[in-house]
Symmetry: C2
Subunit: 406 residues, 2 copies
């Protein structure tokens, strides 16, 4: 008998039929003798509906009131899921985030979990009940309802798994697991049976839609092993955990592409100490997320700085910088929003030279130009033109032998 935390996302509980399907899956696990804590999201679409209604009342809704409003999405699904379980003779009881003892900081709409007090929940577990917990939400020390922001329901599941010391944590979603590349663009992409936290983190930060970084970071911090799998079939998924010995043999685990990127080039910046720092400070103050920074060697007293930003931030950067240029006594900015980032990820890279070389060779062979290069311990990222991004992905995927084995 194991204690299992399961999490079902918005599409998995998208309507009452799907909620019944989820209930049936829960019953199977319970009939196998397991204790279950189940985290559910709001029905797909509900959160957007509520935001639209909020904006009809106030174009800039207060964040506390937005949390009060958004929390009802999950409160609906927990109640319906418990009812669907009762209908098939499974004892179950629903918990809001507050009732589950999930205490957050005082920030609204993107609160952080500070602590979990699962006493009530444990008593109901002991009494043989399946516990259904509202994902994405908690309560702060003033008794206010808070929400956890993007990826919040995954975070609820992983934090609960840590708090109740679960034997397993299963994240049910609409994909089968983590793949070596996006199967929509790379036909022979294969599902990974296992992946390390660090690899998963790098994939998440590089545009893989499977899971937000913060949940993976939390899992890594508390050593929560979890499995990403589909709620629409019974295929085994991908297990995410600390790296294991045999992983060392593998160089590259997967390829990720983020097409929503732009390149910003700053030229004619006075080449003196602190000028690049002043530029980056201004961007940070404007909440612009800068990545892949390259500073060219200056010539004739000028420096160039090139970086990537999310596409939506590019024009923001163009708007913010002239004020800095005025103070520094020079500078020009231009944005190009036709960029994609292509990353390869793998813990094996740490001990293998030549991964960057192999990647560049594969792209050169496919006639694809590389505009920027950035490397970390277990990741190499290249900026390429967006229109060649899928070709680039396929070429690299093939070069590292990630496709299905014959």
């Amino acid at each position: 008998m194991a204690l299992i935390v399961q999490k079902y996302g918005g599409t998995s509980v998208g309507d009452t039929d799907r909620i019944k399907n989820v209930a049936a899956r829960i019953k199977v696990a319970r009939d196998e003798g397991h204790q279950l804590v189940v985290v559910v999201s709001a029905r797909a679409g509900v959160t957007n509906e509520l935001i639209a209604r909020a904006k009809a009342c106030n174009p800039r809704p207060d964040s506390r009131e937005l949390d009060m409003l958004l929390a009802i999405g999950e409160q609906e699904t927990i109640a319906l899921t418990a009812m669907a379980l009762h209908a098939i003779d499974v004892p179950a009881v629903s918990y809001t985030g507050a009732q589950a003892g999930i205490v957050t900081d005082l920030v609204h709409t993107k609160a952080k979990i500070m602590n979990i007090f699962p006493t009530a929940l444990r008593n109901d577990l002991k009494a043989g009940k399946v516990i259904i917990v509202a994902g994405f939400q908690g309560m702060n020390e003033h008794g206010q309802i808070t929400t956890l922001g993007r990826g919040g329901s995954d975070l609820t599941a992983i934090a609960l798994a840590a708090a109740v010391q679960a034997d397993k944590c299963e994240i049910y979603t609409d994909v089968d697991g983590v793949y070596t590349a996006d199967p929509r663009y790379v036909k022979d992409a294969t599902k990974l049976n296992e992946i390390s936290y660090d690899e998963m983190l790098e994939l998440a930060s590089q545009g893989s839609k499977v899971m937000q970084s913060r949940s993976v970071e939390f899992a890594k911090k508390y050593g929560v092993v979890f499995e990403v799998r589909s709620s629409f079939n019974h295929n085994p998924g991908t297990i995410v955990k600390e790296e294991v010995a045999y992983m060392e043999k593998v160089i590259v685990r997967g390829v990720a592409v983020d097409k929503d990127q732009a390149k910003v080039i700053i030229s004619h910046l006075p080449d003196k100490p602190g000028s690049a720092a002043a530029v980056l400070r201004a961007l940070a103050d404007a909440s612009i997320n800068v990545d892949m920074i390259v500073q060219n060697v200056g010539h004739q007293g000028f420096a160039n700085v090139t970086f990537t930003v999310p596409k939506d931030d590019a024009q923001n950067a163009v708007r913010v910088l002239p004020a800095v240029f005025a103070k520094l006594g020079g500078g020009e900015v231009a944005a190009f929003d036709n960029i994609a980032k292509l990353s390869v990820v793998g813990v094996g890279m740490r001990t293998h030279a030549g991964v960057a070389a192999q990647m560049l060779e594969a792209l050169a062979e496919a006639g694809i130009n590389v505009e920027l290069i950035a490397t970390s311990e277990i990741k190499i990222t290249l900026a390429v033109s967006r229109e060649r991004a899928d070709d680039a992905q396929r070429a690299v995927h093939k070069s590292f032998g990630l496709g299905k084995k014959e």
Copy 2:
């Protein structure tokens, strides 16, 4: 400066435009210098939608889970109302029933309010904020969400008015106030400026849809004076309070008709002690609500009992009684579901004989037969055929001079 509790029902907050309209009304009262605690219901229709979704998951949903589900209806409107107030520069903060300190008993779907702890709410009031409270809901001592059942939002408003010792309590609804008769059937029905708790109670129990009895009873018990008025215009409404001196001059305050009634006639019942009691016990055990009981004098060893029941219960009565007849050694039952109850209500009746006589004369003049008569201290009820109910209402209304004064 007064402390005012306002309550807005489901049609008043039916969509985002109406919520903005409510916000504008609240702003007017606040600009006049008043402190405000505002109770809102769920948007009209939401509760029924949620119940339908519950039944799709489970034909007999658990009452605890139903409360968890239904409570989200009001949680939506409190957040949206607070946002709409912010949009017009009114500081406001929303409270769930639990956050407002509304503590109920352990019953689900029709909980009773046990106590209110309005400390947090009072602090926000002092800080100059408008308080928006979710009607219809509370929390029990185990931290479970409960709902108060039919008329629950009115009850929340009146209980809060008592708890914070409000100077005024205003119940906003889709009617202008309490009328001497239903204006849809009696053209010259007039709005009452004032009415006593007891009269309001008798009208509520006799089919007036304005307000549930339990809220009026609560207001009477705690001496909460409240006004029933429309949220769609600015007409003064009807003030409900303890009877006042000048009321003694008034004999009849209003007329109410309940058309959803049936008459059940039991005949050939053995005329021995306890046989009528056995019949009524069987009906009570079947949760059949019996009213206007008349026992005829028996002849030839038989007794007859006639009573009215809500129309839906008539066939139930017919089904339940044969088992009792078998035990008693005789009896027959027949139901006639073409009955209406016509009541006149007024505290003045206590000291005036002749009200029943005047009522019967008016009906005789209009050629309407009276089938049953029942009287209380401040109410006389007659059963008439349903098809003549509106004629009867008009005749009695006219006879007591309740119409508009020239």
